[in-house]
Amino acid sequence: MFGESVRQLMAINALLALSIYLTLACGQLSLANAAFMGIGAYLGAVLTLNAGWPFWAVIVAAVIVPMLVAVLVGLPSLRLRGVFLAIATLGLGEVLRVVIVNLRATGGAEGISSIPVKTHDWHLALALAVALYLTWRLRGSRMGYAFEAIREDETVARTMGINTTRYKLIAFVLSAALAGLAGVLKAHLFRAITPGDYGFVQAVDILTFAVVGGSASFLGPALGAVLLTALPELLRSNVLRDVVNFEAGWQTLFLNGVILLLVILFLPNGLVSLFTRQWRRPTPLASEPATVEAT
């Protein structure tokens, strides 16, 4: 029912949602995914256009460089908790945006356009399959248990002998890798990138995918990404237009907000709880000590 590019967007957004799931699974509210996506996209575009690298090498570079940046940024910032980490990582994204706007190599405000289309559907399918497999295998693995312990209570996890810094960094770096991958694939699919694509709005969108989908299991974020990508397209539907004289514009924005609000209010475990019979107690995404006393 959806066009080709809607399905491709769904896949890319699912990758991004899985990217933020990795840090959420470890109890870290990082909003750096949009920035890492931007690094992957810009690096990829420059390597393809200016250096003429083959696509596979471009992808490898666009995955590895965000990982390196993640190590550099993660070491000082990952000791921040909850909302503070979120804001620090948002800040990172803004600094990156200002730098991209000012650099000559990145084309300034006009960005880079006419990037050759090199991403095919099988790239997306493969990337998504690998990401889903890895996040699925995470549960029940040694690392998965460590992540879960840190998410439940970092202090306790540390006293249990878990190297929390190491695992948090691993989650952050893996998350950066997925975001970089999504960035480079998208740049070589939709041909054009501009600095504004990787800012605050995109960062919050990615978090919304995860929260709306339900971040207790890896399926939730992916599902959230798919459905939230579909939502504005469904609101374009000619049925709505014809039957209720529904216009493109503020009415769609309004309905988008209403639906988002209702899902948050009535589905505490996210959309995924509509599809799974499991009805677990909502799991805290990150344990912030500041909130322990709040009932």
């Binding site: 509210l29 000082p76 910032s77 000791r79 921040l80 909850g82 909302v83 503070f84 804001i87 620090a88 948002l90 800040g91 990172l92 803004e94 600094v95 200002v98 730098v99 000012n102 605050f200 919050v204 978090l207 919304t208 929260v211 709306v212 514009g249 503020w250 009415q251 924005l253 309004f254 988008n256 907000g257 209403v258 988002l260 609000l261 948050i264 209010l265 505490p268 909502p282 799991t283 805290p284 995404l285 990150a286 912030e288 500041a290 909130t291 006393e293 709040a294 009932t295």
Partner: protein, 309 residues
């Protein structure tokens, strides 16, 4: 090397800082009391400004004149608009935050639900006030400027500085010396204990939202008047800088938000004055923010675990 007009640039910085502070005090108040980030604060800021505009001009752009063609003087419109913004704040709390209060992930889901409400508010504002730039009519406030040394500041800008001072002092007095203020601080410290002491915690939450949003609305009105620019997305432009300000000052700290506001305003202005370029001005806020978070996570005035008013 051109001459730097120091007095003018300091006045510019004072103005920008006051505007940031005015926006951030309400923002940080909610964080202090409820430990949540209210991402709809910017939408209330916008609606407050439009509400005052409607009362001053007696006209809703998308619908037509108010019944009776009522037009109010600016000061009365401001008070009423602050009241409306405050009530919208209570509505926001009931709609987006109260239902999630018992949930363990209330911080995250609260952020998203407040974004949803912000979208709804923005959509309604686009319908009511049209997708266009509006401004307060000429003569809303006396034209002219105050001169200080080599610098000049229009009365509308002076109003922002004065309003920031007055409102912040009033808020501080309220929080420190009134019974209500003490109740707010008690709830901020420990809602359970406050409830045991017989404080109606939910009522305090509502009142905090009222206060925060009335202040946010006032910020929108005064700033919108000073820079002559109102539109349905005007709040988005202060949202991120506002976050930087409350982090700089220490989240939840009202004096911290004021200090953070002035610090950011002055730094940004001085960066332009000293380097004679503005290309990296926007990065300053966030580099500062990152450094503060890494070096002193509690912010300038935020004590580690104490959320003081």
């Amino acid at each position: 090397m051109p001459d730097i007009n120091w007095s003018q640039q300091l006045l510019n910085g004072l103005f920008a800082g006051s505007a940031y502070a005015l926006f951030a005090v309400g923002y940080t108040l909610i964080f202090g009391v409820l430990d949540i980030l209210n991402l709809a604060h910017q939408a209330i800021y916008m609606l407050g400004a439009f509400c005052a505009l409607v009362l001053v001009t007696g006209n809703v752009a998308g619908l037509g004149p108010l019944p009776g063609g009522m037009q109010l003087p600016f000061w009365l419109a401001t008070l009423l608009a602050m009241l409306v913004a405050g009530l919208l704040g209570i509505l926001l709390d009931r709609l987006a935050f109260a239902p999630l209060r018992k949930r363990p992930d209330t911080h995250f889901s609260g952020m998203i639900s407040s974004i949803a409400v912000a979208l709804i508010f923005e959509a309604l504002a686009t319908w009511l006030f049209l997708p266009q730039r509006s401004q307060f009519p000429a003569g809303t406030i006396r034209p002219g400027a105050v001169t200080l040394g080599q610098g000049a500041l229009s009365y509308s800008r002076v109003l922002v500085i004065v309003a920031a001072l007055v409102l912040v002092v009033l808020l501080t007095v309220l929080l420190r010396f009134t019974k209500l203020g003490k109740a707010i601080r008690a709830v901020a410290e420990n809602p359970k204990a406050a409830r045991l002491l017989g404080i109606n915690v939910e009522a305090i939450y509502s009142f905090s939202f009222f206060l925060s949003s009335a202040l946010g609305g006032a910020a929108g009105i005064f700033y919108g008047l000073a820079v002559s620019r109102l539109d349905p997305t005007m709040g988005r432009s202060v949202e991120l800088k506002g976050l930087a300000v409350i982090i700089l000052g220490g989240m939840g700290s009202v004096p911290g938000a004021v200090l953070g506001g002035y610090l950011l305003g002055l730094t940004e202005v001085l960066s332009v004055a000293l380097t004679n370029t503005s290309n990296y001005r926007d990065a300053i806020a966030f580099v500062l923010l990152f450094l503060i978070l890494v070096l002193r996570p509690s912010g300038l005035l935020g004590a580690r675990r104490v959320r003081e008013a």
